[in-house]
Amino acid sequence: MRYLKTSEAAALLNVSPNTLRAWERRFGFPKPQRSPGRHRLFTHGEVASLRDALQEGLSISSAVSRAREGLATDTNSLIGALVSYESERADAAMESALALRSLERSVEEVLLPSLEEIVRRQTIDSAAWAFSAHWAADWLRRARRLAPPPVRPVSIVLGDASRDELDPDAPFIRSLELFSVRAGANVLSLSVRGVAGIGDAVAVHRPNLVVIAGGHVGDDAVARWAYAVRLAAGAMPVAVYRRGPQRVRMRTTGTSVLPGGASEAQRRLLELVETDQGGRATRVTMESPYGIQTGRRTASM
């Protein structure tokens, strides 16, 4: 994957960096990612696709539309491969998507929308969905195996409250795990159905944050699991994750509700941990000589 800085992308399109930023505001395309220093990074594929469309276009809007259509072919290819039960062709569609986008964007813009489209067209009881869900779980597992080892002092326990691999929430949860691991966090994923011995798991993993992801398992079972984790690890921030837009208004009682998009949710998770770690440091420095804490948590179990 080749990335371009704003000046490089602007030069390729023969426009000024200001024009490129104006296009980002008006058309949302090309859509940059951010470097660790918060600088814009454009994918070469998007910029090249827009450059070609501009040469044959009548307006920037129509060129953007055409460039987007070109990129959408990956989604159509993946849907076509999955509903034809061809895992090799599906792998090839993702390879093609990865040539133009980062892994995170390939997952968010190609893999997850394709799966949602298959659920919409075929329903979750269909063989096509069974095949697609299994392929997606396998693909995301393979991608996770290629992720670098954890580099951040961030440890997350993810309580999986989805039904199984066929739950439409499952690919989103696996994506959140993958993105968190790729962002350098150490992630331990456990089903919320497994309460016995959770203390041992938590003692080994020593989490900074707990995420409850998915909505299939009942509230009582989730609450039992969360209580067991709290008993073992003490108070810590808790976040709830569901796929897509937040459709249900939840009683959160101090927990944070993560955004529906997996990469947005991953960014929010790291912010929560950093805020909590900052709060802990502040609390230590604000502790009075008599051992009275003056700091206050905002979201804790």
Binding site: L13, N14, V15, S16, N18, T19, A22, W23, R26, F27, R51, L54, Q55, E56, G57, L58, S59, I60, S61, S62, A63, S65
Partner: protein, 169 residues
């Protein structure tokens, strides 16, 4: 036979006037703000973005029909889809270019001249312009969601690629 006599008896080539009118001067303008580029002559293929607003591509049209800066106009292709909406037209039609692009023109404008003769309809005028017909055609239109308004629009060819420029007068 002498040389001069032979030349006089031979048929001579004569300049015959073309059946097509000579094409008039053309100018380039921005397909969003209508501004003219500072450089004279056609822009390079990869340098057609307007230097004034940065939100439109430079297009070419006959000098007498090219819009001025801030004018209200649309650019349509041969399938009658909207390809560009000028800033003036965005205000006039209360729309946004990003929403209007790729929509059929009749979602924005509908003919408003029930007595128009055959060939003077909106679709016919746009088709003729996208085929490169030089003559400007005028039609009366109204916004698709508004009654009681009648606007005169002039339709001429523009490009590249070949398209129709619909300017509100």
């Amino acid at each position: 036979m002498t040389n001069s006599a032979r030349t006089a008896s031979r048929g001579a080539l004569a300049l015959v006037p073309s059946v097509h009118e000579e094409q008039g001067p053309t100018i380039w303008f921005c397909g969003h703000c209508g501004a003219r580029p500072s450089a004279a002559g056609p822009p390079a293929t990869d340098a057609r973005v307007c230097e004034s607003c940065g939100l439109g591509l430079l297009l070419e049209a006959a000098a007498h029909a090219a819009p001025t800066a801030g004018a209200a106009f649309l650019v349509l292709d041969r399938s009658l889809s909207v390809c560009a909406v000028s800033r003036g037209a965005e205000e006039l039609l209360a729309t946004n270019e990003t929403d209007a692009v790729n929509r059929h023109v009749t979602e924005l404008l509908v003919p408003a001249d029930s007595e128009a003769q055959r060939g003077a309809t909106l679709a016919a005028a746009v088709s003729a312009a996208t085929r490169g017909a030089d003559e400007a055609r005028s039609v009366f239109v109204r916004p698709a969601n508004l009654f009681g308004v009648r606007m005169r629009a002039r339709i001429v060819p523009c490009g590249p690629p070949q398209a129709a420029l619909l300017s509100f007068e």
